[in-house]
């Protein structure tokens, strides 16, 4: 008997392991998806006349306090302007959203509106699976092209087969923008008489100066992996051309990762590791911990990350902070990693497409821009004329940075969009690079293996 119990318990344990990754298979002959008539001829609705109860289910990933408040305000104002409409908001972290959204969008009662991460493995895969509603007609009706430049729109675009990134149909609109640059501790910089660098050489001189003064130049923690991409790619963006980075991310024109420029950026990273420019023991520090130390004025004088951190650096500290774009040396184009935040998309099978589009318009209105700006977050769309972020110089810095790269047409890319496996590959290889396990040449070769395999299979 005991033995049977053993076998049974083993079987149960195995069952748990297996069921952890099982998903129901799709039916062999799926019913043709109902295409709502609204896609053919969208109508710009003012508030719906009939005050019947309609619930719009919205999934977003604005879980941080300041972000969440903006969403609550916008939702309340939307409900007030549309009698009878109720917004059912579901907040998730990005990780959680990425895991659950695809299945949810395939359901008949899934979210009507959801934030869909850009890139092949998320938006691309969902377009391929026919889960998202093309927004071209709505974009024309609501004149979204006046809010977003074509380069911004291309980040939320795919061909209808979901294969080619950066062209074809529009599948989302982004409320926020991001630019990766350098946050600096103004308090410490001023106290030491350090000024903002205007070339990359000056930037490296600044790093050396901070190090000589006995402080950590760059607050950094690579335990979570992803932010190492920004350290490397921020420098990479000072060396490559816009055409290269576009081609690379959109997977066209057969470019490669194994280039002298990428090797040079990798070499700079190892040089900074050697010279102790990053936080000591950075490999064991998480992103949030690194930022907490930076905010407290003890982690480092600078930190290279995205403008999204600006909101978190205000208040609860006696330090003052500023933001600048990583400068390029003369003869190089200064690009910066950047783009628009995770866009709102509409589920293909929703029966409330018009209302959902109205909601998307609301989320990218000047009013929304103003609220995001007040919260210290960069809006992707233009602010109301004459807007000034009062009493928030850090935010004004990021606003200027975004305006600069936008007007200079210097908005680069998150390179981890390039292939579905690119993120995991480059994070692992960057950790090896920063740990001096591999050389810059080995780094670019290892990453190129992933990229070439993707191009070959596409």
């Amino acid at each position: 008997m005991k033995r049977i119990t053993f076998v049974l318990s083993v079987v149960m344990a195995l069952a748990l392991l297996l069921s952890a990754c099982a998903k129901p298979a799709p039916t062999e002959a799926p019913p043709a998806p109902e295409v709502p008539a609204a896609t053919e001829a969208p109508v710009v609705t003012e508030a719906p006349a009939a005050p019947e109860e309609v619930t719009l289910v919205v999934w977003d990933q604005f879980y941080r306090d300041v972000e969440s408040e903006v969403m609550e305000t916008l939702n309340a104002e939307f409900e007030a302007a549309h009698p009878g409409v109720k917004i059912e908001r579901v907040v998730k972290t990005l990780d959680d959203l990425k895991v659950t959204l695809k299945l949810a969008l395939a359901q008949e009662d899934g979210p009507d509106v959801a934030q869909v991460n850009q890139g092949r493995s998320d938006m691309g895969a969902m377009v391929q699976a026919d889960l998202l509603l093309p927004l071209n007609d709505y974009a024309a009706a609501y004149k979204w092209d006046e809010r977003f430049s074509s380069s911004v729109a291309s980040r939320n675009s795919f061909t209808p087969d979901g294969v080619t990134f950066g062209q074809g149909n529009l599948y989302g609109v982004s409320p926020t923008a991001e630019v990766v640059g350098v946050f600096y501790n103004k308090t410490i910089m001023d106290a030491n008489g350090w000024t903002l660098p205007t070339t990359f050489d000056e930037f490296q001189t600044l790093l050396a100066g901070i190090k000589d003064a006995g402080m950590t130049p760059i607050s950094f923690g690579s335990l979570d992996g992803w932010n190492a991409i920004h350290e490397f790619s921020a420098v990479q963006h000072l060396l490559v051309s816009l055409d290269y980075i576009n081609d690379f991310v959109y997977g066209v024109n057969n470019v490669t990762f194994d280039t002298p420029e990428n090797q040079e950026a990798a070499r700079v990273m190892q040089d900074w590791v050697d010279k102790g420019y990053f936080s000591p023991d950075f490999a064991g520090i998480g992103y949030d911990d690194s930022n907490k130390l930076f905010k407290a004025g003890v982690g480092g004088v600078l930190t290279i990350t995205g403008s999204w951190l600006a909101g978190e650096l205000v208040g609860d500290t006696d330090q003052e902070f500023g933001f600048f774009l990583l400068p390029a040396n003369p003869g190089h184009t200064r690009l910066a990693i950047g783009g628009v935040g995770i866009p709102f998309s509409i589920r293909k099978t929703t029966t409330k497409a018009d209302l959902a589009a109205e909601y998307l318009d609301w989320m990218t209105s000047p009013r929304a821009a103003e609220l995001w700006a007040n919260a210290g977050m960069l809006p992707a769309m233009p602010l109301p004329e004459g807007y000034v972020a009062e009493g928030n110089p850090l935010f004004n810095d990021t606003l200027i940075a975004w305006d600069t790269i936008n007007s200079e047409n210097a908005v680069g890319h998150y390179i981890d969009w390039a292939t579905p496996t690119f993120y995991d590959t480059i994070v692992a290889e960057l950790q090896k690079l920063f740990g001096k396990i591999i050389t810059p040449a080995e780094f670019t070769k290892a990453v190129e293996v992933d990229y070439a395999a993707f191009l070959a299979g596409n």
Binding site: K2, R3, F6, V7, V10, M12, A13, L14, A15, L16, L17, L18, S19, A20, C21, A22, K23, P24, A25, P26, P30, K98, V99, K102, L103, A106, S121, A125, Q128, A129, D130, L131, S222, L223, D224, G225, S279, P280, D281, F282, A283, G284, I285, G286, D289, L293, P420, T421, Y423, D424, V427, A428, E429, Q431, K432, G435, I437
Partner: protein, 299 residues
Amino acid sequence: MKSQRRWPGESRFHGWLYLFPGLLIYLVFVFYPIIETFRTSFYKWDGFSRERVFVNFHNYISLVTDAQFLKALLNNLVFIIFYSIIPILLGLLLASLLGRKPLPGMTFFRTGLFLPQILSMVVVGVTWRWIFNPNFGLLNVGLRAIGLGAFTRAWLGDFQLALPSVGAVGTWVQYGFCMVLFLAGMQRIPNDQYEAAELDGANEFRQLLHITLPSLRAELGVALITTIIAALRVFDLVYVTTRGGPGDSTLVTGFLVYRSAFQQNQLGYASTVATVMTLLIFGISLIILRFQSRDGEGV
């Protein structure tokens, strides 16, 4: 078991009726997903689109040539040392210290030492991630406080130390379970065996070797099987602490399943990894069971 006679008029399916609710839940939530996972391992499928392509054994062939899978499997085997072997040895030691004679505060020690086992793995992971933090974590701060600042490390970010560090957390979680298991088993051992041994001049170590260990064969089997399974399916701890990094130094197959299925949209491949691991766990469990029943018939 002797066959039982049915009452007159009683249906032959009466027994099945009682089994039905539990069996249904088992079939729907356990058996069906297992079969479905096995079937999916022969397809190329992203997990949500309608088409999936039958690729025969292609996933299995890629698996044996996938350096990442082999590395992850190797890490899982290393985890057996930390999840299984060290906790069993520690559990034996603690059980023989606590179990023989009633100690004052016994309940306190037993509860305290068992505590890690009842915590959620995510809580454990977050706590230890903080303890391992190079700047303000308890470990490095403690080392500096006692003048051993030279031994501070970026524990979870160090290519050599990340795996042992995460493994040590596994040991911390598992030893309490082994200890309680062995304590329970030792209460079954008649005290006169120890008394007789003592009269014959056997010291504590010999008593452990010749009385305690053989009597604990059944418990050792249970401990081995459950801890080895835990080592081979570890996921949560790695997910919370290192996500497989730095590089692939703490990558385990459980994390590979998650990554392939939910981040890289390769559900077919993920199912293949899961299937292979399931078979592996099944095989190891059978081997342990066989050893146990051959040597300890009737236990």
